[in-house]
Amino acid sequence: MNQVQIIAAITVREIVGKRLFLVVFAGILLLLIAGVLVAPLNIGESNKLFYDLGFAFLAFFLLLFVLLEGGRQVAGNRENGGFYWLLAKPVKRRQVIIGIFVGLALLVAACLVLLGGVFIVLLAMAGLPVKVSLFIPLGFLYLKYILLLGLVILLGTGFSLFSTIFFSLGLFIIGHGTAMLLTVAGQSGLFIRLSALTFYHILPDFSAFHLASAGLHQQLPSAGVLGKLMVYGLGYMGILLVLSCWRFSRVNLD
């Protein structure tokens, strides 16, 4: 096992061992089940409501998980001296960042598979159609949250835990409305137009990964568009990871 794998394994074991993680996981599971009971109450739209609730609960859990655990694993450990024992071993700082990222990304995938699996089973139990087109939005939901994870880790290398969570959440919310920046750019003077366009190109476009409704109505974009979106997500995440490694290699752990 190399250093990255060992650090990823410690990260996974540390998080899975937390009771809070299991409690939140169980809570989301219950919410998904509750969705089965609630959906039929909404006459005529029960299918849509069920799908929407399911995706909303999944997204809510992943958002909580990525913000809190991503923040704690980097910013939290930086603040409470949790990196000293690790960095006193023959380990490079970039291996620490990549190890933490891999561990958290694996956990996000495991949670998504488990909760997504339960969601699909509940769909089948409720007699709702399980469409293959639903798996694609789930895949892009994963890409969206590991992109957010990259952002949280980058911010965690320089900010406190609170600031990391605060700014990450802020960028996540802004990232859902980057299209509005284009509108602003179109209606403003040169300076604001340039600023809005710069922000539009720099900030991650999280809204692009929201394909749940398109999946439900079988109106997914073409394979080419989806491929470009995947390259965009992975490329952006790669850049964030490289920046995180670069930043963490230079940060003073006082």
Binding site: I6, I7, I10, E14, G17, G81, Y84, K89, P90
Partner: protein, 269 residues
């Protein structure tokens, strides 16, 4: 073919002597600090600089058990963090074993931090196994060594998560992770924090045993009684500057008085 050069040859008796002396000194030294300066800023705008280390110089001989003494805020932990590369100094340099840059500088070092932030939700054995593997041990050897080292620090048979261990037990576990890969040099920042009298005595005995095996131990402590029992050499730091090094025997029967006199604080009576 020899190149014609107007520069003087870098091989005068004086430079040769200097180079040989540096080579000799590096072969004897386990740790060297040379004019290390570290500045912290009180606020975000970097307006109020505070010198945590001020042209700090120190040399620790290989094979010694070196106590690093100083008041709170004297710069002990900062010096250790600079030494381990956790933080960059504003000037000067600190080196361990004077290793060439190609090897990982911390390969033969075991470190116990003052605020030891261990992972809380894993078992001590799993943690030590992982640390062993990080230090380059094969999985089977790391497992074997984890059991062995848990026994050495008095934690054999301890089950459950690290979170549920007492402060003293966590300190012992911190020492165990520093020892798992059998390092030549141990750097311990306040190793007796959180330990009761019997725990301190036990850990001192263990450290004496390691010192007899030939390991270099560099530790900081406030407890002068323990320093007198354990150390062979003592270095004092005050307001970021070194006040010199002496043999532990010079502490005498009243180490407190010796220490206070060195740092220039008035003594009672």
């Amino acid at each position: 073919m020899l190149q014609q050069d107007n520069k003087k040859p870098d091989f005068t008796p004086c430079t040769l002597y200097r180079k040989l002396y540096t080579l000799y000194r590096n072969s004897m030294a386990a740790i060297t600090f040379e004019n290390v300066t570290k500045i912290y800023y009180r606020d975000f705008w970097r307006r109020q600089p505070v010198k945590a280390l001020d042209s700090f110089c120190l040399e620790v001989e290989r094979g010694s058990c070196f106590a690093f003494l100083g008041l709170n805020g004297a710069g002990k932990s900062t010096a250790i963090r600079v030494l381990l590369g956790f933080t960059q100094p504003a000037g000067g340099s600190a080196a361990i074993f004077s290793r060439p840059d190609t090897a990982h500088p911390l390969a033969g070092v075991g470190f116990l931090a003052e605020d030891i932030g261990l992972p809380a939700h894993v078992s001590p054995e799993y943690f030590l196994r992982s640390v062993g593997k990080l230090a380059g041990m094969p999985a089977a050897e790391a497992t074997e060594r984890a059991v062995e080292i848990l026994e050495f620090v008095g934690l054999s048979g301890v089950k459950g998560r690290i979170k549920n261990l007492s402060r003293g037990m966590r300190q012992r576990l911190g020492l165990a992770q520093a020892l798992i890969h059998d390092p030549d040099l141990l750097i311990l920042d306040e190793p007796f924090t959180g330990l009761d009298i019997s725990g301190r005595r036990e850990i001192i005995d263990r450290l004496l045993e390691l010192h007899r095996q030939g390991k270099t131990i560099f530790f900081s402590s406030h407890i002068l009684e323990d320093v007198a029992r354990l150390a062979t050499h003592v270095g004092i730091i005050h307001r970021g500057s070194s006040l010199g090094v002496c043999r532990a025997g010079e502490l005498g029967t009243r180490p407190e008085e010796f220490f206070l006199e060195k740092i220039g604080l008035p003594q009672k009576g």
